[in-house]
């Protein structure tokens, strides 16, 4: 394919029509608790990794729920798995398992 020193920018919008929601749906079937997230940001606020870098679990899992998978596995690499977020989550979401599962699935996806 030809290039001329530029590529076609991806649209910033989350296009639910076009995104492949199958994995998102599979994930939510497995962890319906993820839908209970009220986006309070407690996980990110307390996050040991977010203290040192721009990691936000809330953002990552929300994007995945919307069918945006690209770059998420790499983002999840930042997590130290310390479990503070799980202790803080007011909705009782098993955040560590979410991190592990997402990472496993998304890495396999991109392979």
């Amino acid at each position: 394919m030809t290039t001329w020193g530029y590529s076609i920018s991806r649209p910033r919008s989350i296009d639910i029509d076009r995104n492949d929601m199958s994995y998102s749906q599979e994930l939510l079937r497995e962890y319906p608790e993820l839908q209970t997230c009220i986006a309070c940001g407690n996980c990110t606020a307390t996050c040991t990794a977010a203290n040192l870098t721009s990691f936000s679990l809330r953002k990552v899992h929300t994007l995945v729920r919307r069918g945006e998978y690209q770059g998420m596995a790499e983002e999840l690499e930042k997590c130290m798995l310390c479990g503070k977020c799980r202790l803080a989550c007011p909705r009782g979401i098993n955040t560590r398992q979410i991190v592990l599962t997402l990472k496993k699935h998304l890495v396999n996806r991109s392979r």
């Binding site: 940001g41 407690n42 203290n51 803080a88 007011p90």
Partner: protein
């Protein structure tokens, strides 16, 4: 027929039940565990959304109760309610019989110490909304060292919507309480910067949304969407807080002079004991479950056992008073039908 109706709890709902029952020709007996009537209202300064002094509402109710032939037993607790609502056992073991029982024992304030990460009871300058009401009654908000705070953070949903302290429900009134107090702090200290950390603002009552808007527009209160995850003291006894500004998606850190926790309502501790009565059913939240959420809000499965006020769910004062009236009329209907 003695016409005696026992009302457990002398807060707003209980007092109103007594007043109406008296009007309807019954003999109410209020059993109050504290030394005086008034319930939680005694601890409040001004009421949302009108800023009416709590004393006005309370004083009026007290005066009206006084005019009735009601018997008031303060510093008394009920240990057991009889199955069919024909009497109660008091904590001293004595029995008091009645034609009907109205449970109006209200709620408990969520103990903020349970959210250890916010440091209530550990750091200076972390308070609850209940403490702030006390401060207003005593002349205004002051830090531990007596100075007026320059920056104040309110945190909503402390002990509400939180699985980790087994409080899954929404306490409803804390949102508007937080807004009201933010305005009051700003009125007292016009130079103060106030940040309100919230997840959702649930402005369910008349005039609430308007007050929220006023807080934003007129009082310049900063509303930040995100829950504070932890607080720690700074070297100069201020409070360092961590949150995520979820609308931006970045962690937020700031130091404030004072952190105020908008504590929620939890089920009254006596509900468990009342629940031993087979006609009294509990929600998983610990509040009492009325016969029917739509058409039987003040009834239990026993025809002589009634509920009024926040013993069944978080409610505001107006709703609690209405339930007092409703319960009284339902009592009258049942007892009159039994008479004839």
């Amino acid at each position: 027929m003695t016409g005696r109706v026992i009302i457990i709890g002398g807060g707003v709902a209980g007092m109103q039940t007594a007043i109406t029952l008296d009007e309807l020709g019954f003999k109410p007996v209020i059993i109050e565990k504290e030394a005086s009537l008034g319930g939680k209202l005694c601890r409040w300064d001004r009421l949302f959304p009108t800023m009416t002094p709590a004393q006005e509402v309370l004083g009026d109710l007290l005066k009206r109760v006084e005019k009735t032939a009601s018997e008031v037993r303060t510093s008394t607790t009920v240990s057991e309610i009889e199955e069919q609502g024909r009497g109660v056992t008091l904590s001293d073991g004595s029995r008091l019989d009645a034609e009907a029982v109205v449970v109006a024992s209200g709620f408990d304030i969520f103990p903020a110490e349970r959210k250890e990460e916010y440091g209530y009871g550990l750091y200076d300058n972390v308070y609850t909304t209940v403490d702030v009401e006390r401060m207003f009654r005593e002349g205004g908000v002051r830090m531990a060292d007596g100075r007026e705070p320059k920056t104040v953070a309110f945190l909503h949903c402390v002990g509400s919507r939180d699985e980790k302290v087994n409080q899954r429900h929404c306490s409803r009134v804390c949102c508007i309480t937080g807004v009201k107090q933010a305005i009051e702090v700003k009125q007292q200290i016009p130079g103060a910067e106030i940040f309100s950390f919230y997840m959702d603002m649930r402005m369910f009552g008349p005039g609430y949304e308007e007050l929220y808007r006023q807080a934003q527009q007129q009082y310049n209160i900063h509303f930040v969407r995100g829950r504070i995850s932890e607080a720690s003291p700074t070297i100069d006894h201020r409070i360092h807080i961590k949150a995520e500004d979820t609308l931006i998606g970045r962690p937020l850190r700031m130091s404030v002079d004072m952190l105020i926790l908008a504590v929620g309502m939890q089920a009254g501790s006596s509900n468990v004991a009342f629940g031993r009565n087979n006609n009294i059913d509990l929600y998983p939240s610990g509040f009492l479950r009325p016969l029917n959420q739509f058409s039987g809000n003040v009834r239990s499965s026993s025809p002589r056992l009634f509920y009024a006020g926040t013993v069944t769910a978080p409610k505001n004062i107006g709703e609690s008073i209405n339930e007092g009236i409703a319960a009284a009329y339902q009592v009258a209907q049942t007892l009159n039908a039994a008479k004839s």
